[in-house]
Amino acid sequence: MRTGNAPLAAGVIAVALCACGGGATSPEKVVNDTTAAVYNDDLNAMQSHFDDALRQQVTIAGVSTLSAKLHAFGAYKGVTQTAADQTGGRYDYTAAFDNATLAVHVRMDQDGRIAAFRIDVPQRVAANN
């Protein structure tokens, strides 16, 4: 009896671990954390989700500028996925703020890291800041 239940228990534990780990690496969570890091002008937190090539393109001033633009729309509330192409690694989201909803586009590499991250900011705000 004892020997017969061991594989079952191991399977349950394995499924539970997979469920927890899968949520942590989902593109939506990565994009949400990255967008929040940009909003908070947190360079390190943002770069932790970028791949090596993209990390080379980031500048401190660029993050601060984009953070200031996003603050013009109020508090950040989170992202919602609007399109997904898992084969090409392309995902589209809408980032909700108090006063606006902006489009967020990302490209993920095979390791689940961000290879491109872009936010569409209305030009009237982009010109003011």
């Binding site: 090539a53 993209l54 660029g62 489009a103 586009h105 491109a116 872009r118 936010i119 900011v121 982009a126």
Partner: protein
């Protein structure tokens, strides 16, 4: 009125002069050399006759002058009246022309209004038949954006 009064005065003076002349004529004229009294009377009568004649001539002169002035004034008044009449006629013609133009405008407005009513009826008929949308479709509002971030999608 002035002319009639002048004529009456003229007639009265002429009558007086004629009466004086007849009176002198009716008096038997004595021979000039008869005596001094008769000569004196003759001289006085002649002087009176000449004085009356001069008075009449002077009066006639004044009357003619007055008549000339009145005629001149009347001519000026007639000229002014003619000018006013001409100006009135010109103004009247301009007014009548404007009235005619207004009538044409009214007619044009009526024709255009009729055309608008007809086109509205045609549009309503087309909308009922489904050929034309009753109102333009609401286009989604697009906001120009600038892309910020890193990397190429």
């Amino acid at each position: 009125m002035g002319t009639v009064r002048a004529m009456n005065m003229k007639r009265t003076l002429a009558s007086a002069a004629l009466a004086g002349t007849l009176a002198l004529t009716a008096i038997p004229v004595a021979p000039a050399l008869a005596d001094g009294a008769a000569s004196t009377r003759n001289i006085i009568g002649g002087a009176a006759l000449v004085g009356g004649t001069l008075l009449i001539i002077n009066h006639n002169k004044k009357v003619h002058q007055k008549e000339d002035e009145m005629a001149s004034a009347q001519a000026q008044a007639e000229e002014s009246a003619n000018n006013a009449q001409a100006a009135y006629e010109a103004e009247r013609r301009a007014y009548q022309a404007q009235v005619a133009i207004n009538g044409e405008y009214k007619h044009e407005v009526a024709v255009q209004h009729s055309m608008i009513v007809q086109m509205r009826e045609q549009l309503a008929s087309a909308q009922r038949a489904g050929y034309v949308a009753s109102a333009p479709a609401q286009q989604p509002q697009r906001v120009a954006t600038t892309s910020y971030g890193w990397g190429t999608l």
